[in-house]
């Protein structure tokens, strides 16, 4: 069994935003959706990519000399150009770079290695009621691995959470959910036409999967279901969308959803896009204002979904400070 491997991006320890308690989040590589606002663009493709971190580069050109394909070049402004069309992501430049300015996004890890790594924080899982979260990308695209990973974690009495976009084979849920304690299920957009526009995919299967899961829930008594909705300015951050999702949840998953998180848009991933050489539509999009977030939360509360289970989270726009550093 231990020959199982997975394509992952990285591990994040002391993660506090991906389920209850203190967690280690494993970011899996590859995602079926292409959300225009995606915060983890480096996780979209299953294959590896190379990225260059400007602030770390010492300009020694070791990488350029190392690349067997001659795919690296220095631009006139000193920045490094990666010929992504031809780059095979062999990793030789990453290995050679003395400053760790080149990074490999994506690696293959064995189940054994991954287990050894996540088990290091067992004490904190125990004291916090936390555990391990599979996130991404979409972990559900590697269902055999995730199911086995979770099964072994359960044998170690470690709590598991599965963070999914929902657009995966129903059989993947069938495999994974028996070993899942928390299911963090994203519903981004109620309107299918808009969903296609924002994410490049229809939302039909996502809702179908959710309904199937709701049917299974009586036989999965350990499963806690959290729904998460990203609030993206100019896209999903609309009262009608939030109200529609709320109404759907109230109608079809009555009493089954423990928590509905409304996650405010943030732009901390701006640099990730730049490094990958991708234009990002949301580059200059400001954060929601506190008023907007309140209004959306209000719309959610009026949707028929139990208000006490709605949790808005994330940053809102910083009001301009009148004077810096007020005197004591």
């Amino acid at each position: 069994m231990n020959s199982l491997t997975a394509r992952i991006l990285h591990l994040q320890r002391f993660s506090t935003e991906d389920g209850p308690g203190i967690r280690t989040t494993v970011f899996f590589k590859g995602c079926p959706l292409r959300c225009a606002w995606c915060h983890n663009p480096e996780s979209l493709l299953p294959n590896s990519q190379i990225q260059w971190l400007e602030t770390r580069c010492i300009g020694c050109n070791t990488c350029i000399q190392t690349c067997p394909e001659g795919n690296l070049r220095r631009n006139a402004d000193g920045s490094l150009r990666i010929d992504r069309e031809h780059c095979l992501a062999c990793g030789q430049c990453v290995e050679a770079c003395p400053a760790n300015a080149l990074e490999m996004l994506g690696r293959t890890i064995t189940l054994e290695e991954l287990l050894a790594e996540v088990i290091k924080d067992r004490s904190y899982y125990e004291t916090s009621g936390g555990g391990v979260t599979a996130s991404g990308g979409e972990p559900g695209l590697q269902p055999e691995f995730v199911a086995e990973f979770f099964r072994q974690l359960k044998m170690e009495n470690i709590c598991t959470a599965f963070d999914t976009c929902g657009l995966i084979a129903t059989t993947a849920f069938e495999k994974i959910l028996p070993y899942t304690d928390w299911l963090l299920f994203d519903i981004k957009e109620i309107d299918d036409e808009k969903h296609r526009r924002f994410t490049s995919q229809s939302n039909q299967r996502i809702f179908q999967n959710l309904l199937r899961i709701a049917e299974w829930m009586p036989s999965l008594p350990h499963l806690h279901l959290w729904i998460r909705t990203p609030l993206i300015p100019g896209a999903t951050a609309r009262p009608d969308n939030v109200a529609g999702i709320g109404a759907f949840l109230a109608q079809h998953l009555n009493g089954k959803v423990e928590r509905w998180e409304l996650c405010a848009f943030n732009n901390l991933c701006r640099d990730k896009y730049r490094r990958l050489g991708i234009e990002w539509e949301y580059q200059n999009t400001p954060l929601l204002t506190a008023e907007e977030l309140t209004a959306l939360t209000e719309a959610a509360r009026c949707s028929g979904f139990p208000g006490e289970l709605i949790i808005p989270s994330g940053a809102t726009r910083v009001p301009v400070l009148e004077s810096e550093g007020e005197a004591l």
Binding site: C60, G130, S313
Partner: protein, 840 residues
Amino acid sequence: MATLTCEPPKAKYTIKTPYNLSPRIQWLRDYYFQGVKRRWNNEAISWTTGTPWDFQFEEISYYIVPETYAFFPTFRSCFIQNARPVKLHPDFWKWSLPERRAWFVREVMVNYMPHEILPGDLIAGARFNVQTSTCLNKAEAKQYEKWVYSKNGTRQAAKWFHDHGYGNAGCTDGHLIPDYARVIHKGWKDIYAELEQRYHNLSPKEQKGRKGAQLRAMLTAATMARDVAQKYREECLRLAENEQDEIRQAELLQMADNLSRVPWEPAQTFWEAIQSLWLTHMLIMSEENYPGPGLSFGRIDQYLYPLWKKSLDEGMDREFGKEILKCFWVHCNTAYDNLIRTGGNQGITAGYGQLLTLSGMGPAGRDMTNDLTYAILEVIDEMSPILEPKPNVRLHRNTPDELLDKIVEMIAASQGSPFLLNFDERSMAGMLREAKKANVEHLINENNVFEYAPVGCLENTMVGNDRSGTVDLNLNLLKAVELALTGGYDLIPYTDEMTGKTDPRIRFGPDTGDATRFQTFEEFWQAYATQTAFIVKKIVELFEQTERVIATFSPTPYLSCLVRGCAEKGLDVTQGGAELWFATIEGVTFATTVDSLLTIKYLVYDKRICDMAELIQALKDNWVGHEVLQAQALNKAPKYGRDDDAADEMAKRVMELWTEETWKHKTRYTGRQMRPGMLSWNYWVADSFILPASPDGRPRGKFLSNALCPSNGADINGPTANVNSVGKALGGKSKNGGGDWEKYINYLPNGGSHTMTFSPSILRDPEHRQKFKAFLRGYIENGGTALQINMLDADILRDAQKHPENYRHLLVRVTGYNAYFTSIGKELQDEIIAREAHRM
């Protein structure tokens, strides 16, 4: 999708302010913060016997503060110049030195120093900073000069040691917990009676000898607090007579009444207990001529609790009890008036540390939190930010949720945690290891180890019978790596900046061979181990030299009354009177050393990226012209602090090596056993300009690692990985039973300083506070002995750097101590800003 979250905007620019202060306390606190502008202060006053050879300033106490070396002659002269004469007893010069000292200090404090009560104050005991005559006769003064100022004297030795990058050492005051509980519950009269008894039990020959002299000195000293109390009583009565306000008049009369009993008699009320504690405590600072250097209170919520409860039962208003404590808080801060006009740099002004301990484990793992614990936490919260006394809260597996909730709530409301946290399981493991190593299991064992308490910042000791000389020896472990690379030479010969003279090429360390010929890392390790043994031996030798001076010329008979063992042995505390008699070598530059060894192994032996000669040349060139190699050292080599088992194994190996070397040494002069600890005060900053470039990629001038912490920026796997590494470096937990305490192993009985910086967002809502609480509970399982938490936003600090006037009260933790951010040097400020903030 992983949600990333920014900190809420309102966390920025919010600085903790005091609250719930009565007009009395508000006035006292505000007045205190007027600093030099105050009309009243507690600036040191100097006193002399009037002889031409007399002096006051004992520089050896300051050998551990290298920044002050250049000022020694100035300090010495100005205290001589300003000294006021004391009329001596006709027999003065016939007495032994301890008797002269005891009499002189007593005379100054009872009959010469003013006895004043600040407006509204509920506690008497105001001016205590003094520089008293060393009371040496001519022959003694001559001997002292030879031992200290001559070419082979301690001053030159300390300077050489520091200049050459080894660190520093000097026999220093304070840093212990006197037996305050005895004074409060039994009174000074109990101590006096014991001394009398012991003196009478001596044979006439012994009475005439050294033992007799010591006990007579202690008998004299044992009346000092009583007679000082009497003077303050008279002042209270005088003020009461002229007082128009009836309430204040009643307070003054009550204070006079309290002072008529304590500290001579046992305290009957909580108010009396605090009065007794304060007078007893402040007079130690007077006698040692050194304000509050780690002179600590111990488990104050334990030994004061019976009187707290009694007074509450008898009708004391709980808020009034806190009011008494708040007055005590203000008194503790006046220690800083000592050199009030001098200011400071690099946190020197924050170097005091009258530490008090709260909560913690009792017998059978029981938790000892009580109502006074909470009352004191309220006082801290309401008074913060304020520097003294420094609180340390002891946590353990059975710490109640209620206490943790309060602690996390206080951390959330402050810009930095207003207290240190100590962790009982790991700490007790270290104390029990010490008991075994030093054969003192009759004094420290399973049945009493939970009574331990930290002094100064986090240095664990036993209470009332223990002088462990914490921070007396501060050793740069990194020096051994340098000497192993060169075979015993300084990598860069030392040049004296004043004279411009450069050392001739002299081999100071043992000849461990030509490092460029070592075939394996193990060969290098052997050289490093030999050099480590050498630097440990070397620092003990320097310390012995200073200890001899202090033990011979600086008796402290008053303090000796308060340390169990001294009366019994008839031996001063400076000479080894205490039942537990240690000196602590604090290992500095730990992570830099570990990372340097890891880098040598990685670059030279494992990956063969460069050979040893190339590496040594790069270090000589301070990495200039070797930038690629430097980047590889910094980025490619493994580091301690990432929960990487192989790297952490190296950390443990380094720890085991140097601590074992430490246990091998005892001073010849007083039989003082060395023990290991890790508190690097500010040396990791200052000494970074002395130690040359190191193999971990650090150039000269870039800061060394701080105490037990991973090197700056090395802890890329987050706080839990950082904590796990620290725990492993201390020995971790035994896998097959047989730890020092249960499964816990701890190589550092003194404990080690561990600082972590978090972004305020970590505590932004109740759910995240619960997670942080769980993190602390996880720390109990996996971490070190002590944790300091900074809760800082780099923006706040940058703004504070630009506009210091707006941030006078902004407290930060440097290492084991607090400092006002705006009062510390620019380098250290930059350092704190650069420190990785753990974002969530």
